[in-house]
């Protein structure tokens, strides 16, 4: 009898029900029936009509190798399929195979993974999706100098004995760690070390099939080939995108997608306040519309106070997005200065600037409290932030006095979106009160994450960076390595390690954590690691964990909160007449 390791992690309390994720890293006897399509019908759904999505900004990237933004990862499942994916039904989210036929099996405790593949999957033009396409999809992600923006998980985890650099710079090279079975019905991944949660990693787009003949490199971002229920009819960057039905998608092959609307139209360029009011008042085109990136901000209190009135179109849920400040350890080298920054920040004014109690909850960690094995309630700057969120100005001044010659001029970078400027102003005031000098660096929302990741390329480095993070999957392994492991950085790009954390003592702890094969023990080890980085090295100032409040038009149904991405998902949406 083989052991079944159950890896449980719950994601907050969703308004629509609790989520649970489970995973079986060892062999299973038979595939559950629910892994085959079609996805169960949504109650009350009608087919037809046009679903409208109204967004403030365009998608950063829709090329699967470059997409790393929660709302887009959720949305692009309309035309992108990956090895494994999340399925949300009736408020419950679980991991299911997508292009794969199972969640992977391993005979060596998670160092080698084999996935059986579904048969007869087709692209939008009718050609077959092959195992080689899956391998190529991963290989091209190695050229992240050209295909930037995505996760680095393939590079981080897969073996690479030949030193493969990517098909664009190394056209004859091969990524030998990925092999296809002779019949093309299974794919095997050889990892550099055991990764018990690998089936979660394969939800990302670098594990998505891309036909090599149709790979247009940077331009693939404008027109990826579809394997999902819809295909791109037109995409005018910054203006709109239209999706129409993909007749070559077989619902019986797909357990997690629906295709109720005939057409999906996405429009970009709306302004927060105007769009929010349209959705709130259910007026005009908003009646049959929803937004992926615009929540209730000024209407937040009203929406939540009168929620019984809006219950059919109000979606309020705890998101996994942690809002925090990354302190640039490359430019703020003195640990006393970093600790002083931590002490100075006033979480109360930050949360008020975000909208008060409905906007979220104070936090001392990047890990949400729902991840019970990994979350620790440690004190930041010697106090419990939940009880005393105010800035500890005296402690900050005392710390600064310990390093009288250290630089106290800080550049604070923030995005020009929503409540971010107000929150940055709150951070600035708190830092000024502690004796710092703060220059504000307001950056455009387009390309923000690229800009704050740039190192050593001649651009001005910000010292304190306002940013947020939603877990890549519901475990500490989906948060801490991406944000704090120095090995994810390149000399010119910090990737998601905006703190540029690379302390030798912390790195040896990361390497030790890699060796842990048990998922629960891994969670614990990473939780301890994060505590050390925050308390001893002050690389991060955690602020609050966001609560999401969305509203949609009254004619929409089937919209749900997605527990995998922490976003409002249009995947099961339908439009009433």
């Amino acid at each position: 009898m083989s052991l079944r390791n159950k890896f449980l992690a719950s994601v907050g309390a969703l308004a629509l029900g609790a989520t649970a994720m489970s995973m079986a890293p060892t062999a299973q006897a038979a595939t559950p029936a629910s892994w085959s399509g079609p996805a169960p019908a949504v109650k009350g759904a009608v087919t037809g009509g046009t679903l409208t999505i109204l967004n403030q900004g365009d998608f950063e990237h829709i090329d699967p190798a470059r997409n790393y933004v929660g709302g887009t990862l959720d949305f692009y499942r309309f035309f992108i399929r990956t090895l494994t994916q999340y399925r949300t039904i009736n408020g419950k989210t679980e991991l299911v195979p997508d292009v794969a036929a199972d969640l992977g099996t391993t005979k060596d405790n998670g160092k080698t993974w084999t996935f059986k593949l579904r048969a007869n999957l087709k692209y939008e033009d009718g050609s077959k999706i092959t195992c080689q396409d899956l391998k190529y999809g991963t290989m091209r992600s190695y050229n992240d100098d050209i295909l930037d923006g995505g996760t680095t998980y393939a590079k981080d985890f897969l073996q690479n004995e030949t030193g493969f650099k990517g098909p664009y710079t190394d056209p004859t090279g091969d990524l030998t760690s990925i092999t296809c079975s002779p019949k093309g019905d299974a794919i095997t991944y050889k990892l550099a070390y055991a990764v018990p949660y690998f089936a979660y990693v394969t939800t990302f787009g670098s594990f998505s099939p891309v036909p090599k003949a149709k790979d247009t490199k940077q331009n693939y971002d404008l027109r990826p080939v579809s394997s999902g229920p819809y295909k791109i009819e037109s995409y005018n960057r910054g203006k709109n995108m239209t999706l129409i039905r993909n007749k070559n998608w077989d619902p019986k092959s797909d357990p997690l997608r629906w295709n109720y609307p005939d057409k999906i139209v996405v429009k970009f360029g709306y302004e927060q306040n105007a769009l929010e009011n349209m959705l709130f008042s259910d007026s005009g085109e908003a009646k049959r519309a929803m937004s992926l990136d615009t929540q209730m901000v000024t209407n937040l209190a009203e929406a939540r106070t009168y929620s019984p009135i809006f219950k059919d179109r109000l979606y309020a849920f705890d998101s996994p997005y942690a809002r925090y400040l990354a302190i640039n350890m490359d430019t703020v080298k003195d640990v006393n200065v970093r600790k002083a920054i931590q002490c100075a920040v006033n979480l109360e004014t930050v949360l008020l600037a975000a909208g008060g109690t409905y906007a979220g909850a104070y936090s001392n960690s990047l890990i949400p409290t729902s991840l019970k094995n990994a979350y620790r309630n440690f004190n930041v700057c010697g106090r419990d932030v939940h009880k005393s969120p105010e800035g500890q100005t005296d402690a900050a001044k005392a710390l600064l006095a310990k390093s009288p010659n250290a630089k106290k001029d800080l550049i604070l970078a923030y995005r020009d979106k929503g409540t971010e400027p107000a929150r940055a102003a709150a951070v600035q005031q708190a830092l000024l009160a502690a004796g710092f000098k703060v220059t504000m660096m307001k950056l455009d929302r387009a390309g923000y994450y690229t800009r704050i990741g740039q190192r050593d390329v001649g651009v001005v480095q910000p010292d304190v960076i306002q940013t947020s993070w939603g877990f890549d999957w519901a475990a500490a392994s989906g948060i801490i390595p991406a944000l704090l492991d120095g090995r994810t950085m390149s000399p010119t790009d910090s990737h998601s390690n905006y703190s540029r954390q690379n302390e030798p003592s912390m790195q040896s702890l990361f390497e030790k954590a890699d060796m842990i094969t048990d998922a629960l023990k891994s969670d614990k080890a990473l939780g301890d690691l994060e505590q050390k980085i925050i308390v001893d090295f002050a690389g991060i100032v955690p602020m609050y964990i966001e609560a999401s409040t969305f509203m949609t038009g009254s004619k929409l149904g089937g919209v749900q909160a997605d527990g995998g991405y922490g976003t409002l998902s249009p995947l099961a949406a339908f439009v009433r007449k």
């Binding site: 975000a354 107000a422 940055a424 005031q429 504000m440």
Partner: protein, 330 residues
């Protein structure tokens, strides 16, 4: 005495008792007209008040024991979307105009310091635009010919541009140029950019009017006389013509200042202006728009102030023009 002599003596006697006839310069005449114009008094009063408040702004933080950028979380209701506690946006003895939602910053102080920001940017731009506009208008009007052709076309091109759209487009470009040239990020770059944009689009208005005046003046006899006496062109332009232009320049400037103020507010409103936490009337208007339903005072205060100031300048400009116009009826 004959009867005719008697008749003329009496009125003459009356005349002697009246004030002696004095010659008055056009300026003195204009000034006396202005003094009797009630609208001019009222509008000057408001203009003076706003300028005065901008100048003495720094004493208010000492009176109220806080600063325009300080957050006051205790004035906000965290459970109701961080809105101000109390009616009229949280007006109290400590916060004369209430507090901002979400931040709790004192609106009166932000208003007063915002006046400084908006007015100083607009006034500096006015000075620059006036200097440029007068110089180019003088050259264009006096020299005529090809110089006039080229300069007039330049003026027309600039006037034809949709200035605010162009300003929005050019601001990020200018900012990156200036940042690379070494100016400090943030307001150190944005304020010069705004002044540059406003004065670049403002000088043609002044130049056109000056040019028209110069063209009519250069044909006058006193210019001919000075030329006959051997005056250089330099002397003619700066010693003969320019002193006679003060009236139209004054009127144009008075009528242009409100335009510059609103352009500055518009640019900040549209995101091309000063960045937080510097307060500015346009920035206050922008920040207040999402809250106008639940906290209308926050929009009303900068909006009304801007309205009064622009109206005051416009009326004052009209009054000055009427006072200087020898043909206007009194």
């Amino acid at each position: 005495m004959s009867i005719y002599e008697k008749a003329s003596v009496i009125p003459a006697l009356k005349l002697i008792e009246a004030a002696p006839i004095t010659g008055r310069s056009p300026a003195a005449i204009a000034w006396s007209h202005l003094k009797s114009d009630r609208t001019a008094w009222v509008s000057s009063f408001f203009v003076f008040i706003f300028l005065f408040i901008g100048v003495i702004a720094p004493i208010f933080p000492r009176i109220l024991h806080t600063t325009p950028d300080a957050f006051h979380p205790e004035t906000l209701d965290a459970d109701r979307g961080a809105m101000p506690i109390g009616s009229f946006g949280g007006i109290s003895t400590q916060h004369w105009f209430g507090v901002e939602p979400r931040t709790g910053r004192d609106i009166f102080l932000r208003f007063v310091f915002g006046a400084r920001t908006s007015l100083s940017i607009a006034l500096i731009a006015t000075v620059i635009a006036t200097v440029i506009g007068v110089s180019i208008g003088l050259m264009s009007g006096f020299f005529g010919g090809k110089v006039d052709q080229v300069l007039s076309r330049l003026m027309e091109i600039i006037l034809a541009f949709p200035s605010i759209l162009f300003a929005l487009a050019i601001t990020p470009v200018l900012e990156s140029v200036l940042t690379r040239a070494g100016l400090p990020d943030g307001n150190g770059v944005r304020i010069p950019v705004m002044i540059f944009v406003i004065s670049t689009f403002g000088w043609p208005y002044i130049a056109r009017i000056v040019r028209g005046q110069v063209i009519s003046l250069r044909e006058r006899e006193f210019i001919e006389a000075a030329r006959a006496l051997g005056a250089s062109r330099w002397h003619l332009v700066f010693r003969e013509i320019l002193p006679n232009l003060w009236a139209p320049i004054l009127v144009t400037v008075a009528l242009n200042i409100p335009t510059f103020i609103t352009t500055e507010a518009a640019l900040t409103f549209l995101g091309a202006g000063v960045i937080e936490p510097t307060s500015d009337w346009g920035a206050m208007l922008l920040a207040s728009v999402p809250f106008y339903r639940v906290d209308p005072m926050y929009t009303f205060i900068p909006g009304f102030a801007l309205f009064i100031l622009v109206l005051a300048f416009n009326l004052l400009g009209d009054s000055v023009r009427d006072a200087l116009d020898p043909k206007s009826s009194r």
